[in-house]
């Protein structure tokens, strides 16, 4: 059946001259649009099955019975179990032809978080680290790069330095780790006074060398963070019940809600991890359970940001280290599959409601419009107004681009 798209329609209607005009108008709108300010990464640790999430193939062999549902974006389906995200699909685009060479969890995580393959000569900074580095923020007393519920490999600062590592925190139902003194206030104060005596003795004869350690400065900033009002952003208990319910009564849901609150106080990048997608056996049971956590949290976050008018300022990226094999294995599981998987991306002025690239319905062939993972990084950086081609310097003076990818044209 011939497909009828916008271009075809306009041509048929004899108004194809409108297309260049439309392009010019779109360009002008793009130029005037302020870049996004922050990034939320919903990290699906373990490698989610694309077939049971963002790229269902209903009725094919490889679907293995997984059903698809319609969404708010015309012609774009999601796997059953993501009904609430489906309602938000006008904000979300799917990159269904994502492609990487790394089929190991650690290496795949590195590739997806940095946009580079692991390289023994240099540790590349993660996307969040680059953004925090390039977009400094004044008046933020808490870490601007945060990883909530991290697994073994949270986002790192790499060559930018450990100060750009994501600050790790766990279920927001609990207190932020290590921010409460173990002793009463006056005793804590007196300990700090005493510290000056010991540090003073060490500085004698060492002068600038001790200042260069950054120790005292890091102590002071850590203390400022402990007493900062902004720290309350981690505490989701003060949110209205309805909001908490919308995000879901799970650690991941609370993490997403905390992420939104953190952005409000000036945090640049938050990574929230939902781990456990490594479904080598019982794939369908595992993904069904995880989707019940992902669906409300992801949808509520998009809705919340949209209603507050800040979705245009925030890129929300949902992805894991790789996808899973189209063919089921004898244990009813799917194995690692970096050759073709899907990322969902929303907000930050990027276009929503699109499905980019197309995976093979048999699962064997390369996807159409193949997108190397680095393109995702280039796209996000551009949305934040960062020149992705600008270089960073590695430890041996070797330079490398912030991202070696190309922004995905259809998204901007």
């Amino acid at each position: 059946m011939p497909r009828f798209d916008r271009r075809g329609f306009l041509a048929a209607a004899g108004v194809s001259w409108l297309t260049p005009l439309g392009t010019a108008l779109a360009r002008a709108a793009e130029a005037s649009r302020a870049p996004a300010k922050s990034l939320v990464v919903l990290w699906l640790g373990g490698g989610p099955s694309q077939l049971e999430t963002f790229d269902p193939k209903p009725g094919t062999n490889i679907a293995a019975g997984t059903k698809a549902i319609p969404t708010a974006a015309k012609g774009v389906q999601l796997a059953a179990g993501l009904e609430r995200v489906a309602d938000q699909m006008r904000h979300v685009s799917l990159v269904r032809s994502l492609w990487s060479k790394e089929g190991d969890h650690e290496r795949g995580t590195y590739a997806l978080k940095t946009g580079y393959r692991p390289d023994p000569t240099v540790t590349h900074p993660s996307l969040g680290a680059i953004i925090c580095h390039d977009l400094p923020g004044a008046g933020v007393e808490i870490p601007r790069h945060v990883s909530i519920l991290p697994n073994e490999w949270p986002a790192r600062g790499g060559t930018l330095g450990p100060e750009f590592d994501a600050f790790k925190m766990f279920d927001p139902a609990e207190k932020v780790p290590d921010t409460t003194p173990q002793v009463p206030g006056d005793r804590f104060e007196s300990r700090f006074e005493d510290l000056k005596i010991v540090d003073g003795a060490f500085a004698a004869g060492r002068g600038k060398r001790v200042a260069a350690t950054g120790h005292t400065d890091a102590m002071a900033r850590a203390r400022r963070m402990m007493t900062s009002d902004q720290l309350k952003a981690f505490d989701v208990s003060t949110e209205p019940e309805a909001v908490k319910r919308a995000y879901g009564n799970t650690a991941f849901g609370r993490g997403c809600l905390a992420a939104r609150r953190l952005l409000d106080v000036g945090v640049r990048c938050v990574e929230v991890t939902l781990a456990g997608w490594d479904s080598h056996a019982n794939n369908h049971e595992i993904t069904t359970r995880l989707k019940s956590e992902l669906d409300p949290a992801f949808a509520a976050l998009l809705n919340d940001l949209h209603e507050r008018g800040t979705l245009k300022d925030t890129v929300v990226l949902c992805v894991g280290e790789f996808g899973r094999t189209p063919q089921m294995n004898p244990l009813g599981g799917r194995d690692h599959w970096p050759h073709n998987f899907t990322a969902a991306i929303a907000g930050g002025g990027l276009r929503g409601g699109l499905a980019i690239g197309e995976s093979d319905p048999e699962g064997g062939k390369d996807p159409a419009d193949k997108q190397p993972v680095a393109n995702l990084h280039a796209t996000v950086l551009r949305a934040l107004g960062i020149n992705h081609e600008k270089t960073l310097r590695g430890p041996l003076g070797r330079t490398f681009a912030r991202s070696e990818g190309t922004p995905i044209a259809a998204l901007s």
Partner: protein
């Protein structure tokens, strides 16, 4: 009933005596540190030390630089302990150290540490980062724990370093039976179902030769015209016949083909070494030939790379600009050549090398100076470098400082296990430095929060019976002695008069729980000081 009471009281008295014995010079023979300075006293050994000293003196003289004075013996003892065993001296060890004759106690202490099991374990763990990386690697195909245990055992036996490296490069066999093969197995590539020759070429050239020729992996090197892609790939070809079946590493036949990442396609290439081709033997498997070439005493790059790496582990920075150089034409400091030649001449004896470095004047300089310290001082090692301790050293320091006795192989298994888990948790939170890049780094906020408020560190400072702070509060003779003991345990030094008076005043008149609380506060302060998390 009275029997039970008597037993209970007896147990309490026994425990009290045990703690007291630990705090002050002890009597058990088995816990006595063996200070044996004899290897250092040999004339030929001293001659090499003098050569290194003269080389540094000449350099400072030529630059018109005055070096810092010699550090205190305790500062050097701490340095040695951190460098060689990854922890600080215990109070028990400090007491014994101070009872030794001053002229030879540092030599004896260094020699003792090199024979300590903690040294072998620590060095194996550190060096393995360069050999096999920090990844856990492929399951079943690769046995990291077995590999580490093997490496530690070789260091404990002081096996020739050349022999250790030969085994890693050339051994065939099962990864459980011949743990050295895990060097190869760690690079197992699931796609090709074999070890990765390119990764192995990178590891061999970096870890053993101190060279980064891997920039020539895909194209001829931009910075170093001498490195061609063929150099790199023909080095990789030595691993082109290596097969990996489940857990077994063996050599077969066939030619190595590499992928042309620029033009596409693959090319066949024969094994060849990038320099000193006359050292490559004609006989043996490809890997055996490569191993013989790498470890040949005449291969200066192997000798220098080893000395440079060991130097970096002891000073916190390498003697050359980097651990791994990109070019062959870097100026070699005379001291490096002296030590490298001695290393080759003495059968690649790592223990002797470390003892030599520990005996030099430059290792014993202060990190403070009565004059302004300039970049020129830093560059020429005219002052001892200040470098951040690694996470496991920081927590090792905290755990050791919280105990008055040495935590080592002789400690109760419970104590060692607790140390293991404490350390693992802490390192995970504090942030593990990926490799031994010796890059300059500064303190971070999460680290400071963890040490300031974390349960682990606070638990070690807290006024609990098993902690040194409580024991010192109970048993120290007076306030000044209590302060001094805490300083020795945590910072391996005595307090300055200002510090002593300040903290003694805090303790003055306080008894019982209040006294323990003040000691716990002092411990917290010492644990959070700049000094404790830096090597100096």
């Amino acid at each position: 009933m009275w029997v039970r009471n008597a037993v209970f009281i007896g147990a309490l008295i026994g425990a009290g005596l045990a703690i007291r014995a630990s705090l002050f010079p002890l009597s058990t023979e088995s816990r006595r540190v063996k200070f044996d300075p004899t290897p250092v006293q040999a004339d030929e050994f001293q001659a090499v030390v003098r050569q290194v000293n003269a080389a540094f003196q000449a350099d400072w003289g030529a630059r018109g630089i005055e070096p810092a004075p010699k550090a205190t013996d305790l500062a050097i003892a701490r340095r040695l302990s951190l460098a060689l065993a990854g922890t600080v001296p215990s109070l028990e060890e400090i007491r014994q150290f101070e009872a030794q004759p001053p002229e030879s106690r540092l030599d004896g202490w260094a020699n003792h540490l090199l024979h300590d099991r903690r040294h072998a374990d620590y060095f194996a763990e550190r060096l393995a980062r360069a050999y096999v990386g920090t990844e856990d690697g492929p399951l079943i195909a690769y046995r990291k724990r077995r590999y580490l245990a093997w490496l530690a055992e070789e260091f404990r036996k002081n096996t020739s370093y050349a022999e250790i490296v030969r085994q890693m490069i050339a051994t065939q066999g099962l990864n459980t039976d011949r743990p050295a093969v895990n060097f190869i197995a760690a690079t197992y590539d699931d796609d090709r179902k074999a070890p990765d020759p390119e990764k192995l070429a990178i590891r061999v050239s970096r870890a053993f030769l101190g060279l980064r020729i891997d920039c020539a992996q895909c194209h001829d090197h931009f910075l170093e015209p001498a490195w061609k892609q063929t150099h790199f790939q023909s080095l990789a070809a030595f691993f082109g016949q290596t097969k990996h079946t489940i857990t077994n590493i063996a050599d077969g036949d066939g030619e190595y083909r590499f992928e042309d990442r620029v033009a596409g396609g693959t090319h066949e290439i024969a094994p060849a070494v990038p320099f000193l081709p006359n050292l490559l033997p004609a006989e043996g498997t490809r890997r055996e030939r490569l191993a013989a070439w790498v470890t040949d005493p005449r291969n200066v790059h192997f000798n220098r790379a080893t000395v440079n790496r060991v130097w970096a582990m002891m000073f916190g920075r390498p003697l050359l600009k980097q651990i791994e150089a990109q070019t062959l034409d870097e100026t070699i400091p005379p001291a490096l050549d002296i030590l490298a030649a001695d290393f080759a001449k003495n059968g690649h004896d790592l223990r002797r090398l470390m003892l030599l470095i520990a005996s030099t004047d430059v290792f014993r300089l202060d990190s403070a100076a009565p004059f302004e310290i300039t970049d020129a001082h830093e560059d020429s090692l005219a002052v001892f470098p200040l470098t951040r301790l690694r996470p496991e050293q920081v927590i090792g320091n905290v755990i050791q400082a919280a105990s008055v006795t040495t935590i080592d192989q002789q400690s109760h298994v419970f104590t060692r296990l607790r140390r293991y888990f404490n350390e693992r948790d802490f390192v995970k939170r504090y942030g593990d430095a990926d490799d031994d890049s010796f890059a300059k780094s500064t303190s971070t906020i999460p680290q400071r929060l963890l040490v300031m408020n974390g349960d682990l560190v606070d638990g070690k400072a807290r006024e609990e019976l098993l902690n040194a702070s409580s024991q010192i509060a109970m048993f120290a003779a007076n306030d000044a002695a209590a302060v001094e003991t805490a300083y020795l345990a945590a910072l391996t030094r005595r307090p300055t008069p200002v510090e002593r008076d300040h903290f003694a005043a805090r303790l003055a008149g306080a008894g019982g729980d209040a006294r323990k609380r003040h000691l716990a506060d002092l411990y917290w302060v010492l644990f959070n000081s700049t000094e404790i998390s830096w090597n100096h």
